[in-house]
Symmetry: C2
Subunit: 402 residues, 2 copies
């Protein structure tokens, strides 16, 4: 008995059959005596279809009008889910983002939730209605419709759970939980019963695409317990929360990110402030730099290498070229075809054997390490992209195979 927020992604509601399945899941939760608030994404390819329609008319349409258009996707799926629940004979009401009280910043296509005015939601819950809310959308101070950008529906669900003090926030996806590695690629990948917010954040950043970072950050900030579950199989999922019981398994997962390139500024003078010069320049242009490596100087010249995501490669190179006069004599190089492989787990730093096991596994698989980066809860290596899948399997085997 309690208040449960459930979120269903686009593939979970993609057609009439899937909608009926979700209606059963939702009403089963309601029948157990819970108040239920459901957040839905747009059906299947709806958003892509709407984007294509807009592109045919105006490829440079304003973000304000794009949000007006795209918000219809979730409005359609939430009314259809309400109809499926009506058919099962339960009291239900669907609400758009603004009806549910989502107030956002003004940034069209990438708005942030400022607050949720829960009055209407509370009224509907007091009537014992199941409430279906269109995710991914809200209203800004100009009474215009906004969308939340990538991972928006997850964020809608967590924000609702926080505002309503829900007992749990269930995120239903195609997979039935968080795994120690991508289960489609690594046999023996194991499902985790629990994982901490920080570990989940590292895994999400590293390319394990189960939950979007923004939603995990928000859950951590407001102490919302998240459950990652499958909408198709009724099996226990993975719980993401603040304090995770100490388990035997120190490492929580192995992740791979191929969306990465290495940029090097070679032959710069070895003088104070050179790193600051490069990275403040990139920060000003909103380039996110990940791993940084500075080689020791030879003849008073040194090289600074760093990784950025593939999408930011052009922008990074353009910025550096435009300001090349600030690095006289330096050459700018770029390397594609690399990947980042990481292991994540709390308390790793106080256990030196972890890094050794990881490097040993890579050496035995004859895989060359180009860069290394460590934090309190992760160790990442940059290797050749061609070696990435073998690297994940080798590392996973070293930690998880019995």
């Amino acid at each position: 008995m309690g208040l449960v927020v459930q979120k269903f992604g686009g593939s979970s509601v993609r057609d009439a059959e899937r909608l009926r399945n979700v209606a059963n899941l939702v009403t089963d939760t309601y029948k157990q005596g819970n108040d239920v608030v459901v957040v839905v994404s747009a059906q299947g390819d709806t958003t892509d279809d709407l984007i294509a329609k807009a592109a045919e008319i105006n490829p440079d349409a304003s973000k304000r009008e794009m949000d007006m258009l795209l918000a219809t996707g979730e409005q359609i799926s939430c009314s259809l889910l309400a109809m499926a629940i009506e058919k099962l004979g339960f009291p239900v009401v669907s609400l758009t983002g603004w009806q549910a009280g989502f107030l956002t910043t003004s940034a069209y296509s990438n708005a942030r939730i400022r607050r949720i005015n829960t009055e209407r939601l509370q009224t509907e819950l007091d009537k014992r209605n199941i409430v279906i809310v269109a995710g991914f959308q809200g209203l800004n101070r100009y009474d215009n419709i906004t969308t939340l950008g990538r991972g928006g529906s997850d964020t809608s669900a967590v924000a609702l759970a926080a505002s309503l003090s829900a007992d749990t926030c269930q995120i239903y996806t195609d997979v039935d939980g968080v795994y120690t590695a991508d289960p489609r690629k690594v046999k023996n990948a194991k499902k985790l019963d629990e994982i901490s917010f920080d570990e989940m954040l590292e895994l999400a950043t590293l390319g394990a695409q189960v939950l979007h970072n923004r939603s995990v950050e928000m859950a951590k900030k407001y102490g919302v317990q998240i459950e990652v579950l499958s909408s198709l199989e009724r099996v226990p999922g993975t719980i993401v929360k603040e304090d995770v019981e100490v388990e035997k398994m120190l490492i929580k997962g192995v992740a791979k990110d191929e969306n990465v390139v290495r940029v090097s500024v070679v032959g710069v003078k070895d003088e104070p402030g050179i790193a600051h010069k490069i990275f403040s320049l990139l920060a000003k242009h909103k380039v996110n730099v990940d791993i940084i490596l500075q080689t020791p100087p030879v003849d008073g010249l040194q090289a600074i290498s760093f990784t950025v995501s593939e999408d930011q490669k052009e922008e990074t190179l353009a910025v550096l070229q435009r300001h090349s006069h600030r690095f006289p004599g330096a050459e700018i190089r770029c390397e594609d075809g690399i990947a980042k492989v990481s292991i994540v787990g709390a308390g790793m730093q106080s256990n030196p054997g972890v890094a050794a096991t990881m490097f040993e596994a890579l050496a035995e698989a004859n895989i060359n390490i180009k860069m290394i980066s460590t934090s309190e809860i992760k160790i990442s290596v940059i290797i050749d992209e061609d070696d990435a899948d073998r690297a994940v399997s080798a590392i996973h085997g070293a930690f998880f195979d019995e």
Copy 2:
């Protein structure tokens, strides 16, 4: 220079090409120095597609959820039209029904506009924005989305024109005006330059499907001048207004309605109150009775015949059967396969030659008249459905051919 409200139906915005055409029309009006507010329907078959989607999930879905679903159709077309206008480089903003301030009654799927809160609209017009409004929808007192039912977008446009004191309300359709008869069926059908609200109301009721009655009634009530125009051909249309200049042409049009059946209650006692008994019963069950014919009594028994629309046939017969004990000895009969053909024109009553010309045309075409009904501005006859097209041509020829 002034304020122009323009309304475009579903076929006028059905694809990217048509949207571009409408964008040109709208911006041309704006370039002439006018403030422009545009009302759009959903694109082509969008509404039907959404209805089919809902039917697959729940054929008995609540009207509240159906309105939530269907309102997305106009939201999509109004944002797409705004994008097409942005591409032409004009300032534009799209608004949903609730953003545009449409407040309606609570009756889902058939709401009536209570009032329009024009504050937001005025603000946008003051910024010299072209304003695109989603037709057919509004918000009720519970902050739920409603739709206006048949002809809703026409009504949205006329209500906006009334609220904003627009100089004219242009309704763009597939045809380029109001004709003296259906131009697809009657050669020599002539386009009218002007027609009065009352004449237009009679023509609309009689099946000339250019403007919906609700919108004409509202235009008459608030004195909004309507222009019916083609969105594809740039030619003058027909102006619908209160006072029409006296023209040589007395008759404004010939219309046909095949959606009609005749019901007869035969063998009822000839006593006071029998007609009241029948028609108050039908009124209570919301059956709209059109033409009524009472035959003279024979041997103290009489017959009462009347016409109803085809859609109400089953309901009418069921009501009469259920209450047959109130008409002892009477037999209830029903006749399909009939049609109503009418001529409409103000001042007809004071010109006895009109009826004679109509009946003469029918007699010459060897068409039998079953019932006759007259009002100040129309004469209707009930005939065999098979004769209907011939009847329209014959009558049209008698009045309009040189």
